[in-house]
């Protein structure tokens, strides 16, 4: 079992998201995250999907997606260079002054930002890889008493000349 990524171009129509997610539930594929938004062509949406599967199932998932009438193109991102980011908000509550200082330090180290602040709380916004966001959440969980996490799922685009993932 391995985590893999797919980019999917689909018709921007009512019901297509339900159809794609229904395939995953109907065939017992393990869907980890799915993001969707329109592209430069407003009749086309692009999805970034992550799944956990073995090789055989992953091949099957790609084929099943490909045969859907509403799916325009399936791109396997597993072995290509991509830029991938995930939006993450962490609201930290019941903070002391010292903890507020700590929140700024953590944000700085992670290249995240403190975007909002109150008497005893603040919000960190982060646009990092899913992996880095996981680390940021883990750290905040350790350091602060109460946090609230909202994350958006990853979006990815194929690299031009860099080899980062």
């Amino acid at each position: 079992m391995e985590k893999r990524w797919i980019a999917l171009y689909v018709e921007n129509e009512v019901g297509v998201l339900a159809k794609i997610s229904g395939l995953f539930s109907g065939k017992s594929y393990n869907l980890l995250s799915l993001t969707v938004g329109t592209t430069e062509d407003e009749t086309v949406s692009r999805m970034t999907i992550s799944v956990e599967s073995d090789d055989v199932t992953f091949e099957q998932i790609k084929k099943q997606l490909n045969r859907m009438v509403e799916v325009i193109k399936v791109i396997d991102l597993t072995d290509v260079n991509i830029h991938m980011k995930e939006i993450l908000y962490i609201k930290i509550k019941q903070m002391s002054e010292a903890q507020k200082q700590e929140a700024f330090r953590i944000a700085q180290v992670f290249s995240a930002e403190v975007i909002d602040i109150g008497a005893d709380s603040c919000i960190i916004a982060s646009m990092l890889t899913e992996h880095r966001n996981n680390e940021l959440i883990a750290l905040c969980n350790d350091v602060f008493a109460r946090i609230e996490v909202v994350r958006g799922g990853s979006v990815a685009i194929e690299s031009i000349s860099t080899s980062c993932r």
């Binding site: 689909v10 018709e11 129509e13 009512v14 019901g15 339900a18 159809k19 229904g22 395939l23 109907g26 055989v56 091949e59 099957q60 084929k63 099943q64 490909n66 045969r67 859907m68 009438v69 509403e70 799916v71 325009i72 193109k73």
Partner: protein, 559 residues
């Protein structure tokens, strides 16, 4: 000039060459039916239930090779089609089903007979869409027919809101289709196919496994030619039966759960399994670890997603069966299979496909009676023991064809499918082989057969039990017969099918003796004024053999 949606609907049907529509009326499709009737060129077949309606369209499609077209109302009209639409999906039958829908502003209000038809059917259709703008109606219908019949065929649902049907718009019906996400495979990768041929050519113990894809592609002549040119023996799935005449010296029968001993053994022992148009369903393979364990597997299928899903194959070829076989026939040459065929024949004579105790009114004698009396015909079956006996013993060729529910195994399929086949081919005898369990799932269609003048012959094997499940209880559950008796022990007939036949204006013949089989079938064949229901009173302890227990290796057969 602009026209109403309902007029474009009729124009579209005529453009697609639709001559018959299976329709059940209701609140939101009355406009459409009214327009069809005004036009007058399309036959409307009115069934008694929407599930049967779609089965009728399936039978029509399978018999004629055309798309089966359905029209049902919103709400229960649409939900009643679900089982039959799924049946068409699993057996790759081209169906376009129009469902009425409440007007767009009412959607989401829990309006009367409002249901999310496309949502319900999303996982059981090849494609489905609600027409939300009048200007999209023409191209959506065009695309629906194209998607239903090309590639791996299947059912498509077009949901038509009431207000779209009556709103005015462009009168053009497009002549071209261009769906950017749907480009069905029309050719064949010659390099892959050459590899497939090379693999077969070098085999010593090759076998061809033909599935329903060969029949769907109407490639029986090409398959027979290929087998004859190469001398490679052929076995089929239930859906593939008839892809080569069953009397052909190179044909050995069905493989799988109730397949012939020799066929399952041949798959076990072969060195090349040359499969065409099968998805290696579990009923064919049994335990995957012991399926063709020594073979190089060639897999030709129109659906790339069928390849290397259940069985890992050595040579995948994505192609329509007919296209691939036509090309293969250009290269085909004799392969030395004499010794191998002798071996298969020896297995076959060791355990031939014969009922062990063929005395009295046996299923085997009934099936052979059908072979004797009906030559050019379409034979539909329902689902259960009778289906397997039909698949084992009914002889098929260029003239005698079989239509059965293989993928979904839908009880209640056979009789409406027979009516649909008869609608499509009124001059061809159509026989429905059914059981008392299956028949009672759609027997209301006796009324449809009456009013639509579709005199089909119903061969009902009555054992007063749900035989296939009872057989499992007999063999694997210590003869504890739970919920499989269809009547109380001291009752005579429940129902009395003879009275039922009479009630629907059909002819009833009850057969209790072996000698009565042929005269009864001949009498049925001669009756073209109404349906003939021939009821065969068979023993409830008859079992379908051989049998492979679900999940076991197919070489591990109860004989």
């Amino acid at each position: 000039m602009d026209i109403a949606g309902k007029n474009l609907f009729v124009k579209a049907l005529k453009n697609e060459g639709v001559d018959t529509i299976f329709a059940y009326p209701g609140g939101v499709i009355t406009d459409l039916l009214d327009e069809i009737e005004k036009d007058g060129s399309i036959r409307i077949v009115l069934p008694r239930h929407e599930q049967a309606l779609v089965h009728e369209a399936e039978g029509y499609a399978r018999a004629t090779g055309k798309v089966g077209v359905c029209l049902v109302t919103s709400g229960p009209g649409a939900t009643n089609t679900v089982t039959a639409i799924t049946d068409a999906f699993l057996d790759s039958i081209p169906i376009v089903c129009f469902t009425g829908q409440v007007s767009l502003p009412l959607i989401g209000n829990d309006a009367f007979q409002e249901v999310d038809t496309i949502g319900i059917s999303r996982n059981i259709t090849k494609w489905g869409i609600t027409v939300r703008r009048r200007e999209d109606m023409g191209h959506i219908i065009k695309e629906a027919f194209y998607v239903a019949k090309t590639g791996k065929p299947g059912p498509v649902i077009i949901d038509l809101p009431k207000d779209i049907q009556v709103s005015s718009g462009d009168s053009e019906y497009p002549s071209e289709v261009n769906i950017r996400g749907y480009k069905p495979n029309e050719g064949v990768h010659v390099g892959q196919l050459k590899k497939a041929w090379k693999t077969l050519k070098n085999a010593e113990r090759p076998i061809i496994l033909a599935g329903g894809g060969v029949n769907n592609a109407r490639a029986d002549e090409e398959l027979t030619a290929f087998a004859e040119k190469t001398g490679v023996p052929v076995v089929t799935t239930v859906m593939g039966r008839g892809a080569i005449p069953t009397s052909h010296p190179l044909y050995f029968g069905n493989a799988g759960m109730h397949g012939a001993y020799a066929c399952n053994l041949a798959i076990k022992e072969c060195d090349v399994l040359f499969s065409i148009g099968t998805r290696f369903n579990d009923r064919i393979t049994g335990d995957l670890n012991d399926f063709a364990p020594n073979a190089q597997i060639v897999h030709i299928d129109i659906d790339s997603a069928s390849i290397s899903r259940n069985v890992v194959v050595n040579v995948p070829v994505v192609s329509d069966a007919k296209v691939a076989l036509e090309k293969l026939n250009e290269w085909a040459a004799k392969i030395n299979t004499e010794d191998w065929i002798k071996e298969i024949k020896a297995w076959d004579s060791e355990y031939p496909l014969e009922m062990p105790n063929d005395v009295g009114l046996t299923p085997q004698a009934i099936m052979r009676g059908i072979n004797e009396v009906f030559h050019e015909s379409f034979i539909t079956t329902d689902v259960g023991q009778h289906q397997m006996w039909a698949a084992q013993f009914i002889e098929l060729d260029k003239k005698r064809h079989m239509i059965t529910s293989g993928g979904l195994g839908t009880m209640g399929f056979g009789f409406p499918a027979a009516i649909g086949a008869k609608v499509g081919l009124p001059d061809t005898p159509v026989i429905c082989v059914t059981g008392d369990g299956s028949f009672q799932m759609n027997l209301q269609e006796m009324a449809t057969a009456n009013t639509e003048d579709t005199p089909v012959v119903i061969c009902l094997l009555n054992n007063e039990v749900l035989g296939m499940v009872r057989q499992m209880q007999n063999l694997f559950y210590g003869k504890r017969y739970v919920a499989t008796d269809l009547k109380k022990a001291d009752d005579a007939y429940v129902p009395d099918f003879m009275k039922l036949a009479e009630a629907y204006g059909a002819k009833g013949i009850r057969v209790t003796q072996r000698e009565e089989i042929i005269p009864a079938l001949k009498e049925a064949a001669e009756n073209t004024d109404s349906c003939t229901l021939v009821e065969f009173m068979i023993d409830k302890d008859e079992v379908v053999l051989p049998m492979v227990k679900g999940g076991n290796s197919t070489s591990d057969m109860i004989l």
